[in-house]
Symmetry: C2
Subunit: 124 residues, 2 copies
DNA sequence: GGACTTCTTCGATGACCATCGTACGAGATC
DNA sequence: GATCTCGTACGATGGTCATCGAAGAAGTCC
């Protein structure tokens, strides 16, 4: 099958009302995690952890995804052996209107300004 | 005199183009620092360090103000023995349009939601 | 000049964090 | 069931960070 596993392992997520601004800002203040969120936003789709080309080992990668999940920025769901990551846009928008978009726009701007372009903007 | 000292001690600030989004987010991700920024924004004026009622010692306070200054969030200027703190609204707005306001609005919203009200919103 | 106020600097401390490597667990495929 | 892929868990490590207390520097006021 193709939709077997999502049932097996469940991951702990904070409820919408437990998401804290400080935690979200902290999650986004790491370059790697900000990068992850930017790609997630740019693709507007759920992505597996391994689809991100991160310059760190898998352990470290797991760590960063967990920080993003525990802060309420992303939602993670198992699909077979893969773990799908999706931005919690609705929850964030409801709690902090405009915040995520401001941060994403700021990140795009800064990337363009610093020449880090060719990463997310166009969509690869 | 009343405007003697501003000349004496100068404090290092990042130029506008050296302000990094990640550093700003990191600076804002600490509850105490976010509190400082909220008060600064609410009062729309420069405030001395001691006008903030922070539940920490002066050393710690100095530390937090320095993080805010070095990340480019606030501008600090000596005025006699006091140190005036002002939000770098223009610089931040120019670099990251809408970001600061989103964060401030998010902070107000969260404070209201969590019952931390009576702090900044009304202005005392 | 002496006392007072305001903030700084230094050293220490305990917490947290980003990183790694290795070993393991859960599904998928054959 | 063997094997492969994807991600987790654990332990270690080096770095940063928030915090404090005590001593000091800069300015103001009498």
């Amino acid at each position: 099958m193709t939709e077997t596993a999502a049932t097996g392992r469940a991951l702990p997520h904070p409820d919408r009302e437990h998401i804290r601004l400080e935690s979200v800002l902290h999650a986004l203040s790491d370059p790697l995690r900000l990068q992850i969120v930017r790609e997630l936003a740019a693709r507007e789709a759920e992505l597996t952890c391994s689809q991100f080309d991160l310059p760190v080992t898998k352990s470290t990668s797991t760590h960063h995804f967990r920080v993003l999940r525990e802060s309420g920025v992303v939602r993670q769901v198992y699909r077979g052996t893969a773990k799908m990551n999706g931005l919690r846009r609705d929850d964030l928008e409801s709690l902090f209107p405009g915040l995520l978009d401001s941060v994403l726009a700021a990140a795009d701007r800064q990337a363009a300004r610093l020449g880090d372009a060719a990463r997310v903007p166009a969509g690869g």
